[in-house]
């Protein structure tokens, strides 16, 4: 479509140059700076990784590369030079002529970013023809060629489907194809694989790597996952609170990080003492099956949790791991099999279980935002289980609440606060304290760290391990994240499509030979090694289609 200009011309080598970029966001108090003077240079064909936790301003910077600020944000200073023009001063009409043609964008959620009312290929054709680059028929052929290049199944016809008819991983690749429609000079990838399962993520990463390399496109790749960015980026910028922490060539940053913050991000999760306890089984699940209506989601699942140990259930979305938690807590009656707790068979429904049993099994949810009542203060959130299960009131209750807050490393001052005044990590700690208030023997942790930033999540894991040593409480730990499993588990149960495919002590599971699915799962987790993606693709004969 567009002929690439002479690449050897050194003046033309820099695609994007940002100097002192400042962006403000609006909150109740007024305008606050969220990007505080960022310098960024991007050469033709170069991939720059922007990495940081939430609030780092990385997406905001990415959008500024298209001269765009989200509603409630404004670019307040600096220059963003693209092809000699400052994106921050161009008119909306001039920006429009650049967007899609010379600078393209790939959003985090393809499912939300494709227009549900139009066919996928029509949305491709729209970009290609919008700026008069080519006619519709050529654009269609081009789309099919790109779909094939990105290894989408049925490239001839997949574009004729509507977005809701295509899976998440495929849709994300279709969006990469759309971004490529006009062979742009620059593509901004905004966390394109964050919402995907690891086995799907690897396909999308490979696709992105191929097209970016083959078309020599410059790219900004935004993510919170260092291992992901390591596969794609030539250079990395580490951001925190809208400021640059560290910048450098990918290998150098990974191998010899300068900033303490980068080292923290790179550090592998808290190491766990080895040597599992052989104790009495507190929870025994035998051949449990469960269904939502007509669709069966659990097939003959068996596992047991020993006293004072952690069993991690690992699996991707749809593996049935959360359903199992619902069965154990009594929220979903099982259709077959038995659940025994401390030797006693658990009744299938919550209603039939005694108050003591409900007290002894506690659940901590994934999202602390929704598991705390925003209208209750910390003292009511913590106080209620104390009163309900232990009949505590007055000074004794207050004392116990302070003790619980100390255990989760928060002070007495928090008693008077509302959940809205706490950070994500503090909220999750509070949820753990609420579970502890019941004095349980088993806590089911349902993806308790996956909604949190990396460092915060690590703090939560450390806390859970410390509490286990102090209180001898058992955990049934549900997660999709292998690193978390490595950090916290004594025993591992791998689940896939409602069945247990492999289980055993952590030391055994993570050592070959693996079950085929475990192998796929383990191999799909990105490593910090920048060569990992290429190596894994060579070893895999035919890539599995998502």
């Amino acid at each position: 479509m567009m002929n690439r200009e002479n690449m050897s011309d050194p003046r033309d080598d820099v695609v994007l140059e940002m100097r002192g970029l400042r962006i403000e966001g609006q909150n109740d108090a007024g305008w606050v700076e969220i990007v505080k003077g960022i310098d960024l240079t991007l050469k033709r064909g170069e991939v720059l990784g922007l990495i940081g936790e939430s609030g780092a301003g990385k997406s905001t910077i990415g959008l500024a590369a298209l001269g765009y600020a989200r509603p409630g944000c404004r670019i307040s200073g600096g220059v963003s030079l693209f092809d000699g023009a400052d994106l921050n001063v161009l008119s909306e009409d001039e920006l429009r002529r650049l967007r899609g043609v010379r600078i393209a964008y790939v959003a985090q959620s393809a499912a939300a970013s494709f227009n549900p009312a139009h066919r996928i290929i029509d949305q491709f054709v729209e970009v290609a023809t919008l700026h008069g680059a080519c006619d519709a028929a050529t654009a269609r052929q081009e789309a099919v060629a790109l779909y094939r290049k990105l290894r989408l199944p049925d490239p001839e016809t997949i574009g004729d489907r509507f977005p809701h008819q295509v899976s998440g991983g495929q849709l994300q690749r279709a969006m990469v194809a759309m971004a490529m429609a006009c062979r742009p000079d620059l593509i901004v990838f905004d966390e394109p694989t964050t919402a995907l399962d690891v086995t799907t993520q690897i396909e999308v990463l490979a696709a992105i790597k191929d097209v970016v390399r083959d078309f020599n496109t410059a790219a900004i790749y935004i993510t919170h996952d260092l291992a992901v960015v390591a596969q794609l980026a030539d250079r990395i910028m580490v951001l925190r609170y809208g400021e640059l922490v560290e910048e450098g060539e990918t290998r150098r940053v990974l191998e010899r990080p300068n900033a303490a913050y980068t080292r923290e991000l790179l550090a592998s999760g808290a190491a766990r003492r080895v040597g599992s306890h052989v104790g009495r089984a507190i929870l025994e699940i035998g051949d449990v099956s469960a269904a939502y209506g007509a669709s069966k989601v659990l097939h003959d699942v068996s596992l047991s949790v020993a006293e004072g140990t952690t069993v991690a259930i690992v699996g991707e979305s749809g593996s049935g791991k959360s359903t199992l938690a619902r069965v154990v807590t009594g929220l979903l009656p099982c259709t077959g099999g038995t659940v025994r707790f401390d030797g006693e068979e658990l009744k299938p429904t919550l209603r039939e279980r005694s108050s003591v049993l409900r007290r002894r099994i506690q659940l901590v949810h994934q999202t602390p935002d929704t598991s705390l009542n925003p209208r209750q203060r910390v003292d009511e959130i913590l106080g209620r289980p104390l009163t309900f299960f232990h009949g505590m009131t007055g000074a004794a209750r207050k004392e116990r609440m302070v003790e619980l807050l100390d255990q989760i490393e928060l002070g007495e001052a928090f008693l008077q606060r509302y959940p809205g005044e706490l950070s994500g990590g503090q909220k999750q700690r509070l949820c753990i304290a609420r579970a502890l208030a019941a004095e349980p023997d088993l806590i089911i942790c349902d993806e308790v760290t996956s909604a949190l930033d990396q460092l915060v999540a690590r703090g939560i894991l450390k806390l859970l391990m410390r509490l286990q040593e102090e209180l001898r409480v058992s955990y049934l730990f549900i997660t999709h994240d292998i690193a978390t499993v490595r950090a916290i588990a004594d025993e591992v149960v791998v689940m896939h499509q409602g069945r247990v495919v492999e289980q055993g002590p952590k030391e055994e599971i993570f050592v070959p030979p693996h079950h085929a699915y475990t192998e796929l799962l383990l191999a799909s987790v990105p490593q910090m090694d920048p060569d990992w993606l290429d190596t894994i693709r060579q070893t895999r004969m035919a890539p599995a289609q998502s």
């Binding site: 959008l63 298209l66 765009y68 989200r70 509603p71 920006l95 429009r96 002529r97 650049l98 967007r99 899609g100 043609v101 393209a104 964008y105 959003a107 959620s109 939300a112 970013s113 494709f114 227009n115 549900p116 009312a117 139009h118 729209e126 970009v127 919008l130 700026h131 489907r161 509507f162 809701h164 008819q165 759309m178």
Partner: protein, 318 residues
């Protein structure tokens, strides 16, 4: 496509079912009448024999389900029974009035729908502007006015002071279209004003919520023109909510007709119903209620079916 057909047929069946329940409510409600229609009409001093004879004449001595089935089969064959007040056939009483009411509502809808959709679109596009805020205040105020207030204000200015339109809409069968339009102008304008404010606000809200979607942001980042952004990206997705808004407001219009007709002494169904309520002419009230309810159910049904037909998720299932 077979899938869609079943969906649409299901909605239709549901609509018919609701109508049936409505007919049941209307019929049974009346049978709960304290006392009896016969005593009600003849007065408490009437002789028992007279009452008994009258009951037989009205068929009130038959069991409830027989009376209901009679009434229902009558309805389906177009026989709505006779008025208690003057003994005339209800279908005859209604015929012309129904036409008048439909004419009035249609004129109001023809003005209200395009105007408020346009205004809703404009205020959504220029959200936060002075124009938007002013429209917000004006429509909010206007929506708060009772229909008869709007009607009398219009009479005060356009009829009494300026003399452009008659304050009484005495429609006659022989009127030409232009003449009918002139006579119906004030009531139609009242209805338009009352309904347009609400329809405009709802349209604005529907479009704003669509404009906040990620795919609209994506379209902007693809370099779509403002025109394409609205017409190609926003409108197809806003269609279903807008259809709903229009249906709700047209249904409201049907109800608003009652008050407006009374103000302007417009010979329509609404006025007939009010008169009959005051006379406690039960069969007429029943018939009118049923017609109003049926229109209402039908409008909602059409909206339902249209939003199925504009939803690609339902049109093209996985």
């Amino acid at each position: 496509m077979g899938n869609i057909l079943t969906l649409v047929l299901k909605r239709l069946a549901l609509g018919v079912f609701v109508l049936w329940i409505v007919s049941l409510i209307i019929f049974l409600g009346v049978s709960m009448l304290p006392g009896d229609v016969a005593t009600e009409i003849l007065g408490r001093s009437a002789l028992p024999e007279t009452v008994a004879a009258f009951r037989r004449e009205l068929g009130l001595d038959l069991p409830l389900h027989v009376r209901y089935l009679d009434w229902l089969s009558g309805l389906l064959s177009g026989d709505l029974g006779n008025s208690l007040a003057n003994g005339r056939a209800i279908s005859e009483l209604m015929g012309e009035r129904l036409g008048n009411t439909v004419f009035l509502a249609a004129v109001a809808a023809c003005v209200a729908v395009p105007v408020s959709l346009m205004l809703g679109l404009l205020t959504a596009l220029y959200r936060g502007s002075l124009f938007d805020r002013l429209t917000n205040l004006v429509t909010l105020t206007w929506m708060s006015f009772p229909e008869f207030f709007v009607a009398y204000i219009l009479i005060m200015f356009l009829s009494v002071q300026l003399g452009w339109f008659p304050s009484l809409s005495t429609m006659r069968p022989g009127n030409g279209f232009g003449e009918a339009l002139h006579l119906a102008a004030l009531p139609a304008l009242t209805l338009t004003l009352v309904v347009a404010a609400h329809m405009m606000r709802m349209t604005r809200a529907a479009i704003i919520s669509v404009l906040a979607s990620p795919y609209i942001e994506m379209a902007r980042l693809k370099g779509a023109t403002r025109y394409s952004l609205i017409v190609r990206h926003a409108l197809p997705n806003a269609l279903a909510p807008i259809i709903n808004v229009v249906a709700v407001d047209l249904a409201y219009l049907i109800v608003g007709v009652v008050v407006v007709e009374v103000v302007f002494v417009y010979p329509g169904l609404g006025q007939l119903m009010v008169d009959s309520v005051q006379r406690r002419d039960v069969p007429v009230v029943q018939a009118c209620s049923l017609i109003f309810a049926a229109t209402y159910v039908m409008l909602n049904l059409i909206a339902d079916i249209l939003s199925i037909l504009t939803n690609p998720r339902l049109l093209y299932p996985r």
